[in-house]
Amino acid sequence: MMAAVSADNRGLRLATRYAVLLLVAIIFVFPLLFMAMSSLKPDQQLLSDTDSLRAFLPVGDISFNNYFAAFERAPIGVFVFNSVLVTGITVVLTILVCSLAGFAFVFLDWTGRGVVFSILLATLIIPYETIFIPLLLMASQLPWIGTEGIEIGWLNTYRVQIIPFIADGLSIFLFVQFFKDLPRELIEASRVEGASWWFIYRRVVMPLSGPVIATAAILKFLFMYNQYLWPLMVVQAEEIRPVMVGLGYFTDQLNVPWGEVMAYLTIITIPVLAFYLSLQRVFIASVASTGVKG
């Protein structure tokens, strides 16, 4: 009798849990489904379907025409390439620079460490939008050693989209918090064995930092991939524009071609999903391997 009751309870609990998870999954998946399905429909059907569940189903006049039209309207390949390039380089450099900064804050003993870290934390409350104008003026005056010697001004380049976003307080803070929780004995054992700080960083600390690398990378990827205002201000040349600015090719008119917009959004969402899903696996593997005491 008792066993039957507890089995029923367990069944009920499981059913409730799955129901909640399903609901959450639906909330998250439906916008993506709506976008993908709409990208296959002509505008008129797309709009008329929005009052029913048909909006989420591949029914009616289904074709890839919106995709062909979108590719004709905008150089999508160039935009996606630019965004992936800028985002990819920024993410890699962020991981490198911010983890090194975090390492210095946690493991190296230097005067003024506390003060510098406090200033760094204070920068977290400043929104990027408030510094974009001074940053723009600064970027327009900055020198750079190019193929033809020293050039002045960073506007209309990849570097102006990358360099200002490499070091940021949030990423450094994430690394600092994670490094603080690493077993101190691992670092001390490395020092006793004769490891240099660079060796400790490269061979001990970073291989154990999978979770924070994944977290920092995902956050930076999303931030960079979604950049709109900054590239709109600093980039005029079409060949180095990122995807979000490219969206303007579809909306700068009276009649918005919703099917093409949806096709464009579907295409530019693919790199984000691919990146997120690939890092999610790394994230889980890292948690599994570092969850070991000693």
Binding site: E185, A189, S190, V192, G194, A195, V292
Partner: protein
């Protein structure tokens, strides 16, 4: 020659002084154990020898070289940590070879040295595993393996067996003892477990509140503790202490008595023991015996623990104070049962009342 000499070593954290001028001579090949209660400074002292803590005052010499300002890696030491400190992302082989990798050893050299260490520690079959696939004892073996491949002059152990269960601790203790004999290296070992200290050490350093209380061979500390603290710390169960009055004193012996103790003559060679007035009498539980009549002490049994090979009896004296008696036999006692206790006065210890504050008593 890997002697380790600590001369007037001090350590302060801001205004707080935790090591208050320590002098210790550790000879080449000696197994020295630092022992003491939590917070006595034993681990700090070891970490100062390792180079993981700065030295605030005094001189530290290893193998005839002052190493106060020399990096940990340059001191010719290897350290085994309480938490093992083995790298979870590396295999056992990579962990053991870690120091060799840093030193730029060739693959063949690494293979040979790792194989040698694995043979000594009987872990050849574990080399390709990850730490997560090892038991606590196996992980500690890996940590020791990493220490021995570099052939350091001095091994430092920071409570290496504290995370292991009792049975494993005994096994590893024996293995560390064997390792010391086979390598012949200088070893400095920190523990709060006096059994580990007694069984492993050539020389024990007893520390309390940043001071050395006594340095000596285990049996020397057991039979001739310099002060009440050492007497209470070394030996299990702990020594019993009773307040007594010195009636008279002549040379190295004193006549004492109290309300609880009939008048007897006990050795009184310790520094600071007064010629008259109050003092502390120490008697080891193993030195007490039950007698039928004419005992030196009288009391009632509170509780008796029968351990088979011995019986530990907790006795309440008439003033309410407690006394432990360890009898080398299996005996039955009833709670409340009156007992008379006798002991050989020559085996008793007399301490000055405030003898714990002795500095560098060695």
């Amino acid at each position: 020659m890997a002697d380790v000499l600590l001369k007037a070593i001090k350590k302060s954290y801001g205004p707080v002084e935790v090591i208050k001028g320590v002098d210790i001579d550790i000879n080449d090949g000696e197994f020295v154990v630092f022992v003491g209660p939590s917070g006595c400074g034993k681990s700090t002292l070891l970490r100062m020898i390792a180079g993981l803590e700065d030295i605030s005052g005094g001189t530290l010499e290893i193998a005839g070289r002052v190493v106060n300002d020399i990096e940990a890696s340059e001191r010719g030491i290897a350290m085994v940590f309480q938490s093992y400190a083995i790298f979870p992302h590396m295999t056992v082989r990579e962990n053991v070879a870690f120091g060799l990798t840093i030193a730029g050893a060739s693959k063949a050299e690494k293979e040979a040295k790792v194989a040698e260490a694995a043979r000594i520690l009987q872990m050849e079959h574990l080399l390709d595993r990850r730490p997560s696939q090892l038991s606590g004892g196996q992980r500690q073996r890996v940590a020791i393996g990493r220490a021995i491949v570099r052939k350091p002059e001095v091994f430092l152990f920071d409570e290496p067996l504290s995370n292991l269960d009792a049975a494993l601790r005994l096994d590893m203790r024996i293995e560390i003892g064997k390792l010391h004999k086979s390598l012949g290296a200088t070893m400095v070992y920190v523990t709060h477990d006096q059994v580990e200290a007694m069984t492993l050490a050539d020389k024990i350093v007893v520390l309390k509140d940043g001071y050395v209380q006594q340095i000596g061979a285990p049996m020397d500390l057991y039979h001739n503790p310099a002060n009440r603290f050492v007497a209470g710390f070394i030996g299990a169960p702990s020594m019993n202490f009773l307040d007594v009055e010195i009636v008279s004193r002549e040379g190295d012996s004193a006549r004492i008595h109290s309300d609880l103790v009939s008048e007897i003559t006990v050795p009184a060679w310790r520094e600071g023991v007064p010629f008259s007035g109050r003092a502390t009498l120490g008697i080891r539980p193993q030195d007490l015996r039950t007698v039928d009549t004419g005992g030196i002490l009288q009391g009632n049994v509170a509780i008796a623990e029968r351990l088979g090979i011995e019986t530990v009896v907790d006795i309440t004296l008439k003033d309410g104070s407690r006394l432990l008696v360890s009898l080398p036999e299996d005996r039955v006692f009833e709670p409340g049962q009156p007992v008379e206790l006798g002991f050989d006065p020559a085996r008793a210890h007399l301490f000055a009342l405030d003898a714990e504050a002795t500095r560098n008593a060695a």
